[in-house]
Amino acid sequence: MSQNSSQPRSTREVIRWLEEGHISAVTAMSHLADGFSVEPDTGDDSKVTATERRSSNPTMSVQQGRRGLQKLSSLVGLGQIKEAIREVVAYAHIQQRRSQMDLASQPLMLHSVFSGNPGTGKTTVARILAEIFHDIGVLERGHLVEAERADIVGEYIGHTAQKMRKKVKAAIGGVLFIDEAYSLARGGERDFGKEAIDALVKAMEDRRDEFVLILAGYTQEMEWFLTQNPGLRSRFAAHLTFPDYSADELVRIAELMLRERQYQLSSGGQDALRTVAGGLQGGEWGRGNARSMRNLLERAMRRQAVRLMNNSNPTRSELLTLHAEDFEEIIH
């Protein structure tokens, strides 16, 4: 439905879509609350209400799948990643439709490897992907369970397998996202990391269609990790490499972050931000990623606060605005 492929522009438009039956009351309210999406749940209880189950009904799915895809498009940069994901999603969707019409369909292999530096959007994309898979009816719940070494590797024999089973169970119907996955295999002889990998491979085998596994981490280390167990590499359908953000993309990300926090930049501030973004991208003040950008902005906000302390009665516009001098400490 054409209405759903774009964001509504006003309250009236949202209500009209509701009135004309294009969206549900839940979706309407989430538009009104702006950017809010009702996700099934990310936590512990495994109950799914009848209505949530019904919403993964295929006749509604094309229309609904657009919402997650829209979120994906709205991310800054990541051109190739988005393209690759659209492909995976389209393929999954069509295979499903084929099987519904009794045409031969390929079993879905959706487990993926996301490699790249920290703060390049891996978790965000994984979360959106979970949502899209839910929208098109591939995953029943569409939530994301994050795990790292400490959640999985245990302290005695058998403990690891048990911890892994627990995580996989929590992720059933959604995505299990293991960050810095290679840390599972690190450690010497007396380490249970090997047990963890075996348990992981077993879970991928046993509960094949019930969850999607995404392993994430630095590119080189992920490469090494995939050689640690012979069956590992071939079990992952997609290998996506997340590039560092360019300076321009970092500026756009920063602008979004500032808008969210209700700050604005003076023209001097804008120049300073560009310098900072250039420096980030060149690796001067940290890596080219969104997280270091956020940290730097927060530092600038603190500098602004200190600057305004000397002013007994700051105006609204003074409170809103970051100037070049607030970035100075970072640049010099």
Partner: protein, 231 residues
């Protein structure tokens, strides 16, 4: 000045019973033209004017409220009639002074966890607590007039809405007074449900009550009177 209070919620939570109970307790004379029958009332709204005495900082007096029972909001897309009714309900929700959000506490307790709440319940709570209300109300930009069955009661409220629009323009309006009514407290599981609702509806006032027995409704009135706007 008459303020509007909407009773909203998912299907079967007890909105209509609560509406009649509140009207009866204040000897209000609900709109007699819209007779109540559960099957027909599903996509209708009807209203009652209630007067509530209050004792506030500004001295004794009374508040005039128009209480409005609304059709249920649903988790998924429904038949055209129900969709149109949902649209009317959201218009009302955006423009009213107070919202009583009814949730069936016994159902929540029985089903457990977040699964016990309908998705609309979470959406209503989120909308009221987190939307940018001045902006929301500005962008509604008056009320669009739907042609079909809701026209008649919208007509009746138009003058009220216009006055509100002025107040919105003057930047005086924020979010509505929000009360979550944990209903059906007379049934099993409702205590568990009440606790769950409190957890899920963080930041909101949650009042346990039973529309059937009339317990806890006094507290509802007190709250409306204390939190009235525009003074």
């Amino acid at each position: 000045m008459t303020r509007k209070c909407a009773i909203v919620g998912a299907t079967g939570c007890g909105k209509t019973l609560l509406f009649w109970r509140m009207c009866k307790m204040t000897k209000a004379d609900p709109d007699a033209a819209q007779t109540h029958s559960r099957s027909r009332s599903n996509s209708r709204m009807y209203s009652g004017h209630i007067r509530m005495p209050y004792k506030g900082g500004t001295g004794a007096g009374s508040d005039e409220w128009t209480l409005i029972d609304t059709p249920a909001l649903h988790d998924s897309v429904q038949t055209p009639g129900i969709q149109a009714a949902g649209a009317a309900t959201l218009r009302l929700l955006i423009s009213c002074d107070a919202v009583i959000h009814v949730i069936d506490a016994s159902r929540v307790g029985r089903l457990g966890g977040r699964a016990g709440l309908y998705r609309v319940d979470r959406a209503i709570h989120h909308l009221i607590m987190h939307a940018d209300w001045p902006k929301l109300r500005r962008s509604q930009n008056g009320v669009q007039r739907p042609n079909r069955e809701h026209a008649s009661w919208i007509d009746r409220f138009l003058p009220v809405l216009r006055r509100r629009t002025e107040r919105v323009r003057n930047g005086k309006l924020n979010s509505p007074v929000y009360i979550v009514a944990a209903n059906k407290m007379d049934l099993p599981w409702s205590r568990v449900g009440h606790a769950n609702i409190q957890k899920a509806c963080s930041g909101a006032v949650v009042l346990p009550l039973s529309a059937r027995r009339g317990d806890g409704i006094g507290g509802l009135f007190r709250h409306l009177a204390e939190r009235r706007l525009g003074q």
